[in-house]
């Protein structure tokens, strides 16, 4: 018998709970959530291992090695470990584990993966300029009512809507 995944949570309830998680993050540490920062830490660590001299000459990388316990022992990295564990637990409980490619009805899995990689590349690049991604800059920034949070949020969704038409084939029939 095929395992039928449970339905998703009510979005407003999920949003409320997510808001509480964010509030808890503020309450404990004074800063919100983030995700792209972890990928940045991993990139910096990798580059640091591969080419230590190169890292020393580049302010973007070297900042992370100059003080503190290094790029991997930080708040965001442990937060992301928690995210992975929490999501795995949730997926397992709801019967959603399993290898799969999500895609629109009109494209092949190969096409989807190529675009997924390009999207990831752009998101990684953009998150550096934005000083955080949808969670770190937009959501967290909005919760503390910072101008940067609102600007980044509007820019993300604004540009998304502007280009959505041209890439509609990826997602809709």
């Amino acid at each position: 018998m095929k395992n039928i995944p449970k339905p998703y949570m009510n979005p407003y309830l999920a949003g409320f709970l997510l808001g509480l998680v964010l509030l808890a993050a503020f309450f404990v540490t004074g800063r919100g959530l983030g995700a792209s920062g972890t990928v940045k830490s991993v990139v910096i660590t990798t580059v640091g291992k591969a080419a230590p001299e190169h890292v020393a000459n580049n302010p973007f990388y070297s900042e992370y090695f100059s003080e503190g316990p290094g790029p991997m022992k930080n708040w965001l990295v442990y937060l992301s470990l928690g995210v992975l564990a929490g999501a795995f637990f949730s997926g397992a409980m709801s019967g959603r584990l399993g290898f799969k490619v999500d895609k629109g009805p009109r494209i092949s899995s190969g096409t989807r993966l190529i675009f997924a990689a390009s999207g990831g590349l752009l998101f990684g690049l953009g998150a550096q300029f934005g000083r955080g991604c949808t969670s770190g800059a937009a959501l967290t920034g909005m919760a503390v009512l910072s101008s940067a949070g609102f600007l980044t949020m509007m820019a993300i969704f604004g540009s998304g809507y502007m280009v959505a038409y041209f890439f509609r084939k990826l997602w809709i029939s």
Partner: protein
């Protein structure tokens, strides 16, 4: 009280443990909300599924309202919260690039992690793409730096940018969110051709909507006095101090304290720029540039209870501004050097001694100023011979370290 870690209530070593626990909640909620599906996420751009907007907006107004309420109740000191600094063009261009990335990739970083861990191959590829994107940024950092570091506006707030009060902005955001929920539901139903029966079987959310509107109205009605800081000094009290000039300390007193050391301990705080401070400063002074006057490290120095804390600048404009801001923020017993550095030099070094024959007080004053001149010029002083530094020129105190964000 909170935030716990910056206030020192929780051992910083537990920081990473808390990070993991909060991450658990974050990951669980994202996955439960359906954010592990790129099809669902991309739906917000094509109108067939607005789950992203619902979750995102609800979370933002929940956390925002929570922070406002905590701050009213004095449960959280919102001066210790990290406020994302605004680098105008970097934020906008970054957002635009991320928006395109969202359409192409169907994920954002957090959601891609959530999806990758439950086996979504497209998400794993997306994460790999992010590595490359960040690597490109790192490699071409020098090219990107002018944009990345440019148009810096500081940790500004959106309600200030819009010229509104924080409470009104919060209320407006709640209203916009509720309207967006209604409108997007309508659009979604049109696009998905939802039947009337299905629509009418859905919950109407009247209760939560009314609760949150009530909350917004309550926030506006609350008196704004206890906001942000419960030990702020009232404007009235400030005015009284300013009018009476209670905060002023004259040059003789400062000179006396410098000469005689321990009798009347003064803590001199130089509020000018680090460059000016390095060029010339009073002995033993600490440099806190006015821009950093509200930072935690500064507060520790300014609220020193054992010494009389005296602020100075070249004249009195900058130091008075610093005095006002710090006093308003709740730091008591601060003083300003009357006449500033210029006045100090004028009084101690340049003023011609008045004819002492008519006035005994003047005679004493002259004698004292002569002694002070001796002290500063020669470094010879009977009272504290150990601080034999050269004239008045610089003694660099420990500079408070300003720590930036991520």
């Amino acid at each position: 009280m909170a935030p716990l870690i910056p206030q020192g209530f929780v051992n910083p070593d537990l920081n990473l443990f808390f990070a993991f626990v909060i991450g658990l909640g974050f990951g669980y909620v994202l996955e439960q909300a359906g954010f592990s599906s790129s099809r669902k996420l991309a739906g917000v751009f094509y109108g067939y599924d607005f789950v992203v907007l619902r979750v995102f907006f609800t979370a933002a107004i929940t956390a925002m309202s929570g922070l406002l309420i905590f701050s009213y109740l004095g449960w959280i000191d919102d001066r210790l919260l990290y406020i994302n600094p605004t680098y105008l063009w970097s934020a906008i261009i970054g957002g635009v690039i991320m928006g395109v990335g969202f359409i192409l990739g169907g994920f954002c970083p957090g959601t891609s992690m959530v999806a990758a861990v439950i086996g979504k191959i497209d998400a794993m590829v997306f994460v790999a793409g992010m590595f490359i994107g960040i690597f490109i940024f790192g490699e071409f950092y020098e090219v990107f730096e002018p944009l990345y570091m440019g148009s810096y506006l500081g940790g500004i707030f959106v309600f200030d940018s819009l010229g509104m009060s924080r409470e009104w902005f919060a209320m407006m955001l709640i209203a916009v969110a509720l309207m967006a929920f209604v409108v997007t539901q309508y659009i979604e139903d049109q696009i998905n051709k939802v039947s009337f029966e299905e629509k009418s079987s859905r919950p109407a959310y009247w209760t939560p909507a009314l609760i949150i509107i009530g909350l917004g109205v309550l926030m506006i009605m609350l008196p704004s006095q206890p906001r942000s800081n419960w030990n702020e000094t009232s404007a009235q009290k400030l005015l009284t101090n300013v009018v009476n000039g209670n905060q002023l300390v004259d040059a003789d007193e400062v000179a006396y304290s410098l000469v005689n050391g321990k009798d009347r301990p003064l803590r001199l705080v130089d509020v000018r720029s680090p460059e000016e401070f390095a060029q010339f400063s009073l002995p033993g002074a600490v440099n806190i540039p006015i821009g950093q006057i509200l930072e935690n490290q500064s507060e520790a120095i300014l609220s020193d209870k054992t010494n009389k804390v005296v602020l100075y600048s070249n004249a009195t404009t900058l130091s008075s501004e610093a005095w006002l801001v710090a006093t308003r923020a709740g730091i008591e017993d601060l003083y300003v050097l009357d006449g500033g550095l210029n006045g100090f030099i004028q009084t101690v070094f340049l003023e011609k001694p008045a004819d002492p024959a008519h006035n005994m007080n003047l005679a004493y004053q002259n004698r004292f100023r002569e002694k002070a001149r001796q002290y500063f010029l020669s470094g010879q002083s009977a009272a504290s011979p150990k601080t034999l530094s050269v004239p008045v020129i610089q003694t660099v105190g420990e500079k408070p370290k300003a720590k930036g964000g991520c």
